[in-house]
Amino acid sequence: MGTARVVFDRWSDRYAERMADVRSSAVRDLFAAATRPDMISFSGGMPEIRRVPIEAVVGATTAALRDSGTEALQYGSSEGRPAIRQVVVDLMAEIGVRVKPDDLAITAGAQQALDLIAKIFIDPGDTIITEGPTYLGALQAFSAYQSNVVCIPMDEHGMRTDLLAEELKRLGPQGAKFIYTIPNFQNPAGVTLTPSRRRELLELAREYDIPVIEDDPYGRLRFEGGHCMPLRALDDEVIYLGTFSKIFAPGLRLGWVIAPHPIMARFMLAKQAADLCGSAFAQTTAERYFADTRWRRVLQDLTRAYAERRETMVASLAEHFPAEARWTVPEGGFFVWVEMPSFLDLKSILAEAVERGVTYVPGDAFFPDGRGRNCMRLGFCYAEPDAIREGVRRLAEVLEDRLELYRAFAAAGALPTVDDPTDERG
């Protein structure tokens, strides 16, 4: 009997180089364990969709099909139907951004816009600049095009523009292809870029002639504090990404991109190749939904619910978490960012947390280079307040238990001092 090499995937030597770094991770499997019924999940970023009145959506869908069924079921234009783009124009005007329907395109969520922007800007090896930590989905979209991501640390006022200036100087002219930022209630850090830093960021971008991509999924979910002008309101050259996922529903997969016309022309070429056009059905439904003013009450109701959950989470953290823990208090959005002492590895501790019935996302998921293992993102958007209290309590027990173990190692001098750049965070 001869030896046979067992082959599960006979195409494995045919795949593109750019997918080579994408591997199965143990964290992914831990999240699979997290599907058990009693699990309290702080790991997701899912909106509280239970509060969207289904009847209103049924009405919008029915009206869309009855009144414009042949359009809803047909291919549409690549940039999106004029009526939905007008909805976006009106939404943008409310936050101080004046655009015309021609300045924007509808995408399949903001995520598609991220992918297409990466596609039109990034050659293998190109450097791009993001906040550190930053949105995991953006890192995934950018890394698929083999970019080199440089992370600028943040403090409670958002991206450190002084460090951005240093980095731009170091990279030199043409050093980076673009700057990607989430200025409002950043995912995952929960912090908001202050008005003065917004101006500094734009000045630096002008000085170095680098496009700025402003990702603003949470901007309208503000609990407190003053309205901050979007970067796009301060500078017409900013590429702005918006989404219906948080103000309506992610299931429709509707987002938009606003960009200067030359960039938009490139973007549309890429988009036509990717999907010909978005879903006209989803677009007509959203047009109808936003034609009725009820959406404002729903959004208010949602925002109040998120605010209550943020309150509950922050209060529970103060009550239960170890003294060594530091966390951000977001003025809106979905996420609290927790930082533990640098020696604590929250990636490995996730296993124990899952065992105890609570999940979070370890911080290193939000960095391109393994930093952030002593941090975690806690989403307060989806769990009810009682579950949030219980989840934080469980998590605190796990951390306390781990800290005791780490202290025993530290006391024996057995722990190497970890040089963690995230310590720069103020």
């Binding site: 199965s24 590895d345 490995s348 025993a408």
Partner: protein, 317 residues
């Protein structure tokens, strides 16, 4: 009338995902053979369901804690329901790698040198002050640090020098209260599956050789397609092959395994097969090692599952 088989899967362990895949495939295989199949996720209703449904046997497709450590086996014995796989003692022994390695050593079965630490030894007894003794105790670096009780190589780290040891121990201890530091043996990694034949005799399937591209057969190497090359039967010379299969059968009997087990080994540069651990509830996914070995011996997945269930039912007659 065909017998009713309850397939236990899922549960609360960290290997829930893998177990659900194994369980689904087992259900399909049993249904294809005409059994009445009851797919059961492990929830607090489990006992009530088993009592009202009264299956003729339970197929345990659980992996990890409570499914593999004797917990569910003890419960099924109490309920008087026959189940596939090993009994309580063999399950508990195999699940605890620190214990099974002690048994191997006592019986003269080669196993890599190791030391065991519990979380309590660090927290309450200052064990961290003695980490400098570890290389001497196991014969130097590199070492593998892993949880004593966990499957799918979760929490496993290869450590090349003293500076990585503490961190690897802390990682392993996140997956359970006991960690093992084991001497790394450079060599051929093997999974040797054993089933009991019709008259109870141990039948050893052709050993499967794993060649992970990263050099370490960890979680990622196990579940990312293309990360590991597998060879069946393993590329061994005849005397070593005979030694490996003989040792697998011996270990299967020593632990008291019933119906099926998978013995993981590494053949060192010295030609000696070292036993690493025994798995009493081997994975049954499309890329799992036991079905791969059975297929190489001419037994397809349906036959394999059918054999395990039939022998369980026959044993109770």
């Amino acid at each position: 009338m065909q017998e009713k088989i309850a397939v236990l899967m899922g549960g609360q362990s960290l290997e829930r995902d893998v177990s659900l895949i194994s369980g689904k495939r087992v259900c399909d295989a049993l249904e294809a053979q005409g059994y009445r199949v009851l797919a059961l996720d492990v929830t607090p209703d489990l006992v009530t369901t088993l009592r009202s449904e009264r299956p003729d046997a339970v197929y345990i497709a659980l992996h990890g804690k409570y499914g593999e450590d004797g917990t569910v086996q003890e419960l099924l014995e109490f309920l008087g329901i026959p189940y596939t796989g090993s009994g309580v003692t063999a399950s508990a022994l195999a699940w605890d790698k620190a214990l099974s390695k002690r048994l191997f050593r006592a019986e003269g079965i080669p196993t890599p040198a190791w030391v065991t630490f519990t979380a309590a030894a660090f927290k309450q007894m200052g064990a961290a002050t003695a980490l400098d003794l570890v290389p001497g105790a196991v014969g130097g670096f590199p070492v593998v640090v892993k949880p004593a009780k966990q499957g799918s190589a979760l929490g496993l780290t290869k450590v090349d020098g003293p500076e990585g040891l503490a961190e690897a121990l802390l990682t392993a201890l996140s997956y359970g209260d006991t960690a093992i530091v084991e001497k790394w043996i450079d060599g051929l990694e093997l999974a040797v599956s054993v089933v009991n034949g019709p008259s109870g005799e141990a039948r050893v399937f052709p050993p499967v050789e794993m060649e992970p591209k990263s050099g370490l057969f960890d979680f990622s190497a196990m579940y990312t397609p293309g990360e590991t090359d597998y060879y069946v039967p393993a590329r061994l010379d005849e005397p070593t092959m005979a030694e490996v299969t003989g040792m697998a059968a011996r270990v299967h009997r020593l632990l008291g395994c019933e119906r099926v087990s998978r013995v993981d080994m590494v053949v060192g540069g010295d030609g000696v097969p070292y036993v690493l651990e025994v798995n009493t509830s081997p994975g049954m996914t499309e890329t799992s090692l036991l079905p791969m070995a059975a297929a190489s011996a001419g037994m397809d997945f349906q036959e394999l599952v059918g054999h395990l269930v039939r022998s369980t039912l026959d044993a109770t007659r």
